[in-house]
């Protein structure tokens, strides 16, 4: 188990009711952590439509997680 910080944006922040939370998790990848937090908060978008950043760098969903990582969950983007 590792401790990571999950950070939420836009609709995810509204659905989670918070900007960020510290989680103790067995998730090995960003995708596994998303499965955990989306089940917890009811996020409905698939990873295919969302993006993830680890420590302020865009990352692949398959990226491994390390102790202390800050994982940013980005719902489907809509700039422009």
């Amino acid at each position: 188990m590792i401790d990571v910080t999950a950070q939420y944006f836009a609709v995810f922040r509204e659905q989670a009711g918070r900007n960020l939370e510290t989680l103790t998790t067995s998730a090995a990848t960003a995708e596994e952590l998303y499965a955990e937090v989306s089940a917890k908060h009811g996020f409905a978008d698939s990873v295919a439509r969302c993006k993830v950043a680890i420590n302020d760098e865009l990352a692949a969903w398959t990226a491994p997680l390390a102790e202390g990582d800050v994982v940013l969950f980005f719902p489907p983007v809509a700039g422009g």
Binding site: L72, G79, G80
Partner: protein, 149 residues
């Protein structure tokens, strides 16, 4: 070459100064304006939110790709965040090139990529008091398609 998330009004004329080049014959620019409707529903205002540091990095990456891929002399972009009223400029992209073909193609490439890749989110406010995050599945009012510009 610069890309920035900003909470200030976008000034296209000032930004064009960065595109100046003695060999530039063509300048193409795109502005995304806040429309009064989306998918047939009346919109009264928009709110944009971004992750500024990731957005700035990804925006700059897109500009760099465009300069490599097309025959550009310069490229810049800005995206507003915060609450915007109908008619305000939410996003600006400008490019310069020796020839207009490259300028049109590159400007379009940049705005298409920005809309797909940069962490910016848009919440629409409707006349009936409801609001919705564009492109997101939420159960509450939402738009499945992004049809803003």
């Amino acid at each position: 070459m610069s890309f920035e998330i900003t909470d200030q009004r976008i000034d296209p004329e000032a930004l064009k100064a960065d595109l100046r080049h003695e060999t530039a014959g063509a300048c193409v620019s795109f502005e995304g304006w806040v429309r009064d409707h989306n998918d047939g529903e009346p919109v009264t205002a928009l709110e944009y939110e971004a992750h500024a540091s990731v957005a700035n990095k990804e925006g700059l990456q897109i500009l760099t790709e465009a300069v490599e891929r097309f025959d550009l002399l310069a490229a810049s972009g800005r995206h507003r965040v915060g609450r915007l009223e109908i008619g305000e400029c939410a996003v600006w992209v400008g490019v310069s090139a020796a020839h207009r073909g490259a300028a049109f193609d590159a400007c379009r490439y940049i705005i298409d990529q920005l809309k797909q890749r940069v962490p910016i989110w848009k919440k629409e406010y409707y006349r009936d008091g409801l609001s919705g995050w564009i492109n997101c599945v939420t159960g509450t009012p939402f738009k499945a398609r992004d049809t803003t510009s």
